[in-house]
């Protein structure tokens, strides 16, 4: 029996007690999956898992208050569940977690860079154990999966769900890269270079808030200060400064809470490398508070508490 069969059986046995189970199904073309809300056994037939199942389904959980929901999670997604539990945003007894042992998910951007023609013209896809055979615009190409995995997979220390009611698949011994080359390269730039980079990048931001809405930790929803009129934090003006202001708001509100699921960057329709900011903030949180969001239960988010003596904060001797 395959992993998918194991998962389907596990879901089937819980379906009766749940409002629905959130998983994935085939999307609008062979290279895309899309979230699936399973309510019946007929829905369950459409469930898929694998490298196309990129979406962090945990983002839907806080919309189902008071109802009992099942959700399929990869390792990275399970960290979001833990963080939501730590912040009392969901109740443990209201969620049944189907955890996966994940081999990594693809980055559409990397697939595009590796193909002879744009993946928008894809005709067929064959997913193997370690490669992807893609026919696009009449040309066939075989891509090594390892070469098109999302950046977050390259540094993933938790490929297997770290919280679950049912765990499917073979456990991994993760050996992640220490850090991402692109992150290091960016951090090494001078202030002026970084400013120029964000100025240019933010000039193509359209402030659609896909990054915010895709984020599992963003629960303010309709009351987000970015779109509040009174008080007015950010102007409707689509200038680089206002767009950057929104990113500063988002990252500040995620300090100590971001689980680096990368959905913000994936959701961005104009490919802004948002994770550069978030990974950096997380490094600071790790340095000062010695913790990473979503890695352990019963962990109070660091900015919601304090210590009288802070070991790693210099008290600004002037």
């Amino acid at each position: 029996m395959s992993q998918l069969d194991d998962l389907k059986n596990a879901i089937k046995s819980h379906l009766g007690e749940l409002e629905c189970v959130i998983g994935w199904e085939q999307g609008y073309d062979p290279l895309h999956a899309t979230p699936l809300f399973i309510r019946t056994e007929a829905d369950l037939e459409r469930l898929i898992i694998g490298p196309l199942a990129v979406h962090n389904l945990v983002t839907y959980l806080t919309g189902f208050k008071g109802k009992k929901i099942g959700v399929v999670v990869k390792g990275c997604d399970s960290k979001s569940v833990i963080q939501l539990l730590n912040e009392n945003l969901i109740k443990r007894e209201e969620v049944v977690i189907f955890g996966l042992c994940c081999d990594g998910v693809v980055s559409q951007r990397k697939i595009r860079a590796a193909l002879p023609a744009d993946p928008g013209f894809v005709e067929s896809v064959d997913i193997g154990a370690s490669d992807l055979k893609v026919t696009v615009a009449g040309q066939a190409a075989t891509l090594k999966l390892a070469g098109v995995l999302a950046d977050k997979c390259l540094i993933c220390a938790t490929p297997d769900a770290i919280i679950s009611d049912v765990l499917i698949g073979t456990a991994h011994t993760p050996a992640p890269a220490a850090s991402l080359a692109c992150q290091d390269e960016f951090e090494a730039k001078s202030d002026a270079e970084k400013l120029a980079f964000w100025q240019e990048t933010m000039s193509r931001c359209i402030r659609c808030y896909a990054c915010r809405n895709a984020c599992p930790m963003c629960v303010c929803r309709d009351y987000c200060i970015a779109t509040s009129r009174d008080p007015l934090w950010i102007s409707q003006d689509n200038s680089p400064a206002e767009n950057m202001m929104f990113q500063m708001v988002h990252v500040s509100h995620l300090a100590g809470r971001c689980t680096e699921c990368g959905e913000c960057e994936r959701a961005c329709p104009v490919d802004i490398p948002l994770m550069l900011l978030r990974r950096y903030m997380n490094k600071q949180v790790k340095d000062v508070f010695e913790l990473q969001a979503g890695t352990a239960l019963e962990q109070t988010p660091p900015l919601l508490t304090f210590k009288v003596e802070e070991e790693r904060i210099n008290e600004r001797g002037w």
Partner: protein, 342 residues
């Protein structure tokens, strides 16, 4: 008029035009293609795929200043200056679907009763040099909404890639003026090749879906919130679809105050956001994402066609499908409504 222009000369044409106009052309940065103000020396990305954003910013920018207000000292009368758009623009290398967007604006922004001077000035002073598509993407469905990969409606010049250059056909008098440039040469036989390419692209799209019953069927689902909740379950209510869409035309007007100066700006609004119909009292007639998605789909495939002679407020470019972080597919939603049975 039919002429021919080489790839190099198209860049030269952009350079020539940028001396007197604002030229917008597709440029690849960070792996994504957006429209940028063309400057000599830039590399364009015309062919890898259609731009992620639509060219609607040429006629309807995301932010535009409507007027400015200045006060010298509090007692003096404020000085109000209307900031109407000036100058001419050219969009080079958009796809036919992108250029068509403004056709959807026209019956709304220019009526007998109301004429939006900002939109009209920009529209009348922008030339669209569109590029016909060679092949459809998996998300293209222009053929199902009365258009096609080589639809000239909305463009001033339509280019079709033939060999190392483009067959250029003028659609409007403004387009004819463009073709008068010495950079264009005689098209000769190439016109036939262009026709064959255009036909091939249309053939590759397969059968069009018939949306004729959509307006009525969608209206029949108006009170069916169960239907809309199921359809909107995976939507994250962001607004990427609206902002990417060449035909979405809703806007907000806000004042940016800084001390004794103020600027009244118009900016894109988006019906997927909670604040779209949030009233001053706090009441919101569209409180959930199910309500809002119903509005968006309904507007494009039901209310607008009912008001404007059956024309769908959709150009079939598919950006809303491929840019949606959750893969919400408007084609599927409309089809579900059309095929709905108790």
């Amino acid at each position: 008029m039919e002429r021919f222009i080489t790839k190099e000369n198209l860049i030269r044409l952009a350079e020539e035009l940028s001396a007197t106009c604002r030229v917008l052309a597709p440029v690849a940065t960070c792996g994504t293609v957006t429209f940028r103000r063309f400057q000599p020396g830039m590399t364009l990305d015309l062919h890898s795929r259609m731009a992620a954003v639509s060219p609607k910013a040429a006629t309807f920018p995301q932010t535009e200043s409507l007027l400015t207000v200045k006060r010298e000292i509090p007692e003096k009368k404020p000085e109000i200056t209307e900031t109407l758009p000036e100058g001419k623009s050219v969009v080079i290398g958009c796809r036919p679907c992108g250029a068509r967007g403004k056709l959807i604006f026209n019956p709304v922004y220019e009526t007998d009763k109301t004429k939006d001077p900002y939109f009209i000035l920009r529209r009348d002073n922008t030339v669209f040099i569109s590029l016909a598509c060679d092949r459809p993407e998996t998300t293209c469905f222009c053929h199902s909404v009365g258009s096609g990969p080589a639809d000239a409606n909305g463009s001033d010049v339509l280019l079709t890639l033939v060999g190392e250059g483009y067959v250029a056909r003028s659609v409007t008098p403004a387009g004819e003026d463009v073709l008068k440039s010495a950079l264009f040469t005689d098209a000769g036989d190439k016109g036939k090749e262009a026709d064959a390419k255009n036909a091939k692209a249309r053939e590759m799209m397969g059968e069009a879906h018939d949306y004729v019953s959509a307006p009525e069927k969608l209206l029949a689902r108006f009170d069916d919130m169960d239907f809309w909740q199921a359809q909107s379950a995976k939507c994250i209510s962001c607004g990427a679809c609206t902002y990417m869409c060449p035909t979405c035309y809703c806007f907000n007007i806000t004042d940016d105050d800084q001390g004794l100066e103020s600027r009244r700006i118009r900016s894109w609004d988006n019906c997927m956001s909670h604040t779209f119909t949030l009233e001053g009292s706090g009441h919101n007639p569209r409180p959930t994402k199910a309500h809002r998605l119903k509005n968006r789909v309904g507007h494009k495939f039901s209310y607008y066609p009912d008001l404007h002679g059956g024309v769908m407020a959709c150009c079939g470019c598919g950006r809303c499908i491929k840019q949606c972080p959750a893969g919400v597919d408007i084609r599927q939603i409309v089809k579900a409504a059309q095929e709905y049975s108790e």
